[in-house]
Symmetry: C2
Subunit: 238 residues, 2 copies
DNA sequence: TATAATTTGTCCGTATGTATA
DNA sequence: TTATACATACGGACAAATTAT
């Protein structure tokens, strides 16, 4: 492929856009594979690869012998876990603000060293931020970055886009992310930051972002207001 | 295919078993695609399809030019959302018990009719159960079944396996499931059932199970003890 | 540092099976 | 029963990233 991105990706994006634009609303189905082959002038495998991705992301449900149906996701504002790539991506039409609560250099204690698979005493950055969507407190983010991987951070970077800064280095592409989802009692400080009452529940995400070479980039905790944040997990059985 | 299941599924299951048995621990990698082609005597596409599934389920991370690495999932007892198919499947080595709390015939009010996409007044079954793992309360399950789809239920079925009973009918296979994940304040009754203190947080799953023909089989709420249940979401970036 | 070998990623074409309408 | 439409499977070719030479 000489083009910037693979063909199936182009097909996927076009079909996604057509779905979002309501272009298949009358039938509630996609065109058939054979039609899509003619429309995009690519092979059946390429169409199927694009559909596979859209299926995993929750847009369509292919039914053998029948067609590829639109999946009506009445998400009610819930965040699709398959499309969880940062606040700006999740709220493209909202104003995202970041308040820096704490920023310091630190080092790994025994617990953090185990989690981050580094030596005890390894230098780390500690960052605590409050992120607001359209002026309302949305999530408290506590992050630990391995200084061997991220040798430099400053306030400017932290309040704009840490990940954008780091991954601008082609050697520091994110390979995969593990997320643990749980409920907890919110701390008094976080309750104040999010504007909820003391001892409220919180929806907590514990994230480990791994680079393509297997090293852990960061470990972070996202503490959400339980009344506003809901997650959506779409599963297919076939 | 004349065999009971497709080839890629057989390949997938064998590789999963080998991973679980620690057979690739020394290298931390799977055999190469070419090796697997020779081992299983199937085409490259079939190997790649099996690997695709294993990748989505979080077992492996394929890296172009390098190999297919085992993903070390330090799950810490968290439940992988990709493998969320009922308690007996999730805890194969534990004793699962079910206490029936309430069982009655009911009908859809306006809210339920909207959720379940049925007429107001449609007949429903209402089931509330407490499920225990190895003798300890694990989850409170509240379910609404559409009586048009599930015309008959009894105490015997409810305390063993509702889904097993329903899906024994080949016309009632589950097509897909939508899950909303959120935190909430636990109700007093559920706190008592789960043995946690009043006003504790709860990790709540709201599920909609759809049949392959698009009808909604059931709507259910799973209320989990927040200290014992954690969910795991594995994402790949490529 | 440059080149070659290795290994996964993309893409094509074809044939046949299986579920649905 | 027939036609339609997605599912499985095979084989081949070349691209791109990584690793070894």
């Amino acid at each position: 492929m000489k083009s910037a991105q693979p063909k199936y990706k182009t097909v996927e994006e076009k079909i996604e856009k057509d779905i979002r634009d309501g272009r298949f609303k009358s039938t509630n189905k996609l065109p058939t594979e054979d039609d899509l082959i003619k429309i995009f002038k690519v092979s059946r495998n390429t169409i199927r690869k694009a559909i596979d991705v859209l299926t995993h992301r929750g847009f369509v449900i292919p039914v053998q012998g029948s067609g590829m149906f639109l999946r009506d996701v009445s998400s009610e504002g819930a965040i699709n876990l398959e499309d969880f790539h940062g606040l700006t991506h999740m709220f493209p039409n909202s104003k995202i603000e970041t308040q820096l609560i704490e920023f310091k250099e630190s080092s790994a204690d025994e617990k953090l060293a185990t989690i981050m698979r580094c030596e005890v005493g390894s230098p780390l950055y500690y960052v605590k931020r409050l992120r607001l969507v359209d002026g309302l407190p949305y999530v408290v983010e506590i992050s630990y970055f391995n200084k061997e991987i991220v040798p430099y951070l400053n306030r400017e970077i932290i309040t704009t886009s840490i990940y954008g800064f780091i991954t601008s280095d082609p050697k520091k592409q994110i390979g995969y992310v593990d997320r643990i989802i749980r409920a907890d009692v919110i701390s008094d400080e976080d309750a104040m930051l999010l504007g909820v009452s003391k001892n409220s529940p919180a929806l907590v995400l514990e994230n480990k972002a791994m680079l393509r070479d297997g090293r852990m980039l960061d470990y972070s905790l996202n503490i959400h207001n339980y009344t506003t944040t809901k997650l959506l997990k779409l599963s297919n059985f076939m």
